[in-house]
């Protein structure tokens, strides 16, 4: 599968009063055509910063893109001017944010917010754009789309607003859609509907999706591949089957263990991951998870583990998985 997006050795920092927060540290991944890739990790792991860097939406200062490349359809987005990015955003790459109330303009009618992108990027006339816009609203499951077209965001419920956001993001049939926690602010029943809408739209338009979330349940239902981030680094990647059925990294295993399962016995306690993530002003030299890891060895704190590959798609970074580790233990 030919990748439409390649992120290579991306490093992003923030300058704050206490020093330099190294939010993303050497991120590498690819997204194939029509593929859904999930980036999971807890708050502060760098997943949103990665997404915003791809879109070049990250404010600078305080942020600095230290090094790396973001190759989208053969071109490095990090080398584009702001003007060139404006032509790409909304047209080739769409984005859906967590909170639709803050990302929709409350003073502009929904219809105008959809037609705006169509007029700007597709050069449509207003009446063409309106026709297409209403069609998009219908596609994402908004009833009475003609009426809704002339309403303001506050007249929409949370789920409806997120549907409208999806309609706007997909209006120009982008090659890539970045969805940053698109369902986190919504109720489970609405979340299920929004996920269905996204899947259906993807099948129809062949869009690739980067889904950023902390909800592993959503990942299991929606994605092809999973990237697990911790403290600004990728600690494990694999297909969803590899990640859920055969997780390798202690952090991934810990995440899966700490969630209650519906078939779990009531008196069986949850196994939490002890401790908290490291401070990225002074990121640990070794494995970032070492301080919270049950299986940590002396080397873990001192040297960053390299990648161990289990298949063409499955990789984890942990010293215990290193081919030499087993020999060392048995000797």
């Amino acid at each position: 599968m030919e990748p439409i997006l390649q992120v290579k050795d991306l490093n992003v920092s923030f300058h704050v009063r206490g020093g330099e927060v190294k939010a993303v540290r050497g991120m590498n991944f690819e997204v194939g055509k029509g593929e859904t890739v999930a980036i999971v990790g807890e708050s502060g792991s760098g997943k949103s910063v990665t997404a915003q860097t791809i879109m070049r939406l990250i404010p600078s200062p305080p942020s600095v893109i230290k090094k790396g490349e973001v190759i989208f359809q053969g071109q490095d987005l990090l080398k584009k001017t702001n003007k060139q990015m404006e032509a790409i955003r909304g047209k080739d790459i769409g984005m859906i944010f967590q909170d639709p109330m803050t990302s929709l303009n409350p003073t502009i009618k929904i219809g105008k917010q959809i037609t705006e992108v169509l007029i700007k990027h597709q050069g449509m006339s207003f009446s063409e754009a309106k026709k297409h816009g209403i069609e998009m609203l219908k596609l994402v499951g908004i009833k009475n789309a003609e009426e809704r077209f002339d309403q303001y965001p506050h007249e929409f419920s949370g789920g409806m607003r997120q549907r409208a956001m999806i309609a706007i993001a997909l209006a120009c049939k982008p090659t890539l859609l970045i969805a940053d926690e698109p369902t986190t602010a919504l109720d489970v029943t609405i979340q299920a509907q929004i996920m269905d809408v996204m899947k259906e739209m993807q099948e129809r338009l062949g869009t690739s999706i980067i889904l950023i979330t902390h909800d592993l349940g959503v990942v299991a239902g929606m994605c092809d591949r999973v990237i697990v981030m911790y403290a600004g680094e990728v600690v494990e990647t694999g297909t969803k089957w590899e990640i859920f059925k055969n997780p390798q990294h202690p952090y991934t295993k810990g995440l899966l263990r700490s969630m209650p399962r519906l078939d779990q016995k009531k008196d069986e306690p949850l196994i939490p991951i002890v401790g908290t993530p490291p401070d990225l002003i002074k990121p640990p030299v070794g494995c970032p998870f070492a301080a919270r890891c049950d299986e940590a060895m002396r080397i873990c704190e001192r040297v960053d583990p390299g990648a161990t590959e289990f298949s063409d798609t499955h990789m984890a970074r942990c010293w215990n998985l290193h081919p030499m580790a087993k020999e060392a233990q048995s000797s």
Binding site: H214, D215, P260, K266, T276
Partner: protein
């Protein structure tokens, strides 16, 4: 868990006047009890009235009608002075650990305030000792006492909130979405702490949440709320195994399971329309809500499993 009912809620209603002659029936005729030492989970989507129910039960809101008996005393009939004394027994842990701690207070001020208000502190040394004891109980240490909330992570702040609630030796704690704002890896830490404290101190919880898997894990019984009414109530195992009300079924089928095999084979139920909100339902314009919420009196269909009469 004992058999006596620590909390008995009867006919509880809380209406809000939202202007233009409209009444929002946030909580509409709730009837249930909580046994001593039990955890009752309360689930439902935003706007269903679960948080309002929690706050009204603690009398943070005055009710429109109904009664709440705590150990046999109707708390709505108490004078302000007696109510204050009663609050020692009933505490609350809030959803947002960032908003519910005073940023200008140190941890020892935050926990100590509860002791001071109820005159539980005694001497300064005793007060300090009690604060350290509470910090230890929730997995923090005495060094933390002089720090401010912003110096802590979300999970640690929630621990401070729990220590504050425990300071007055309550019998009953309402946990209003205590883990929703926390990361997955931290949620389990806080839930385990709550369970452990319940075992050690014999606490009774009303656990309000929208994370259905977590509610099942922590609760003995689970109540499902919809448009201000309770539509189903059963033992947690029973509710998840045999949901009866269509809304409960929809809710359960919407939980995303972290297992691609289950997700791939899952049949999802959807309600035909989005929830119309309690206002239109209250006005009787609920023609679009195909669920019957009018006949909502609970009927016992099997032992301990109650469901709204329209679906029983």
């Amino acid at each position: 868990m004992k058999d006596n009912h620590l909390i008995e809620v009867k006919g509880l209603k809380k209406y809000f006047n939202v202007g233009k002659g409209q009444i929002l029936k946030a909580v509409d005729d709730l009837n249930f009890y909580i046994r001593e030492g039990e955890t009752l989970g309360m689930v439902g989507e935003s706007g269903c009235g679960k948080s309002t129910a929690g706050r009204t039960i603690l009398r943070l809101y005055e009710p429109t009608a109904g009664s709440v008996n705590f150990n046999g005393t109707d708390i709505y009939k108490l004078s302000p002075g007696k109510m204050k004394a009663m609050r020692r027994d009933m505490q609350m842990i809030f959803q947002d650990p960032y908003a519910s701690l005073n940023p200008r207070f140190t941890v020892s001020d935050i926990i100590g305030e509860a002791l001071d208000i109820h005159g539980l502190a005694g001497s300064r040394a005793e007060r300090k000792k009690r604060i350290e004891e509470l910090l230890d109980m929730v997995g923090l240490n005495s060094d933390h006492a002089t720090r401010y909330p912003h110096e802590f992570s979300g999970g640690q702040r929630q621990r401070i909130g729990i220590a504050r609630a425990l300071a007055v030796n309550p019998k009953f704690i309402i946990c209003d979405e205590p883990i929703s704002a926390l990361d997955v890896s931290i949620q389990a830490q806080v839930v385990n702490l709550l369970k452990d404290l319940q075992d050690r101190l014999g606490l009774t919880y009303l656990f309000i949440a929208h994370d259905l898997s977590m509610v099942k894990h922590i609760s003995d019984r689970v109540a499902v709320m919809y448009l201000g009414k309770m539509v189903e109530l059963a033992d947690s195992e029973e509710l998840y195994a045999n949901p009866i009300h269509p809304y409960t079924k929809t809710l359960l089928s919407a939980i995303p399971i972290p297992d691609p095999e289950i997700e791939a084979n899952k049949k999802r139920l959807t309600l035909e329309n989005d929830m119309q909100g309690p206002i239109s339902a209250a006005k009787g314009e609920d023609g679009t809500v195909q669920l019957d919420v009018k006949d909502s009196e609970l009927v016992e269909v099997s032992k301990g499993h109650w469901v709204a009469r329209a679906y029983a």
